[in-house]
Symmetry: C2
């Protein structure tokens, strides 16, 4: 299942994920990852600061996706703006990524420090989104509530999307969860 | 400002908080807390498993408050039920508690491990509330969204309530934040 045609970065990422899933995140060393990828440790450190970065490096642009979605929106209610932000994130979660996302989540779920980092990442997106909404003239309380509700929609969507056997696209699931949110106060 | 008329438990709690604020949570030992309270370490450990318990012991019943509020509700939409749960929590945050809550938050904000424990505590309430809503026949997605929105209302309310100079009651602030949430999707 290795994608050897990929560059070193992708080979290292695939090798790391295989080892994390097979033997556990804590038990895996950078030396093993490099060997599994047929590369040197030196090459590993050219791409990643440490082994956890394999799981999080792709996600550096994570809040940029939400903000890009928001930027594309012309205006509207806070929840319409948040829906636009969520739409921006769907680009990232295409079907090719689903197997990787599933394995990644298995690794994260097995390690408290990784879980914490994941939570902080999502909290950082909520903060960035809140700030962007405030910049558009929305009061801070409504902005925070809307942004947090949006991230909750995202988390529930993601959890459903990576379920075994789930075939619907990220966008399709997210539309359904958003509709639930919109009907909550209806 | 000590409340010496209180029992040993309260004396220990007050002493611990004075030391946490004055010299930092990490720097404070149980021996110092006991000495500050004029009691023995042995007595401290009769009431608290460790120094962090001083900050969290009161809160053991924290999710019970939300669930009690929910139990008092006869029915209604998911958000009406969550509003009832939030009403249950206001009992805990009376004005006598505000100075303690302010100091407690200062201590929590200064320590990453305490912050994490606080986040987990709130996440646990959201889970318990979600489960209680599902038991009432609400679909799991709507239940999770409503419970999480409720806890976001709680967190924003709490943050406003402990602001320096804030005079409004917890219940009054919370009513305003809830109204913001309800108008978000209006």
């Amino acid at each position: 299942m290795a994608r050897w045609e990929g560059g070193s970065r992708e080979r290292l990422g695939d090798a790391a994920m295989r080892l994390f899933v097979a033997q556990g995140f804590e038990q895996t060393t950078v030396a093993e990852i490099a060997a599994e990828a047929g590369l040197t440790e030196r090459t590993f450190f050219r791409y990643f600061a440490d082994k956890a970065e394999v799981l999080f490096a792709d996600q550096e642009s994570f809040d940029a996706l939400f903000l890009a979605g928001l930027e594309g929106a012309d205006g509207g209610s806070p929840m319409e703006l948040v829906a636009a932000a969520l739409g921006g994130a769907t680009v990232f979660f295409d079907d090719d990524r689903r197997p990787w996302s599933r394995r990644r989540q298995t690794v994260i779920d097995s390690n408290a420090a990784l879980q914490e980092r994941e939570l902080h990442k999502i909290a950082a997106v909520a903060s960035a989104l809140t700030a962007a909404l405030v910049k558009r003239g929305i009061d801070p309380t409504s902005a925070a509530l809307a942004a947090q509700a949006g991230l909750n929609v995202f988390r529930l969507t993601f959890a459903a999307w990576i379920k075994r056997g789930e075939k619907r696209s990220f966008a399709e699931i997210q539309t359904g969860v958003l509709a639930r949110l919109q009907s909550l106060l209806g």
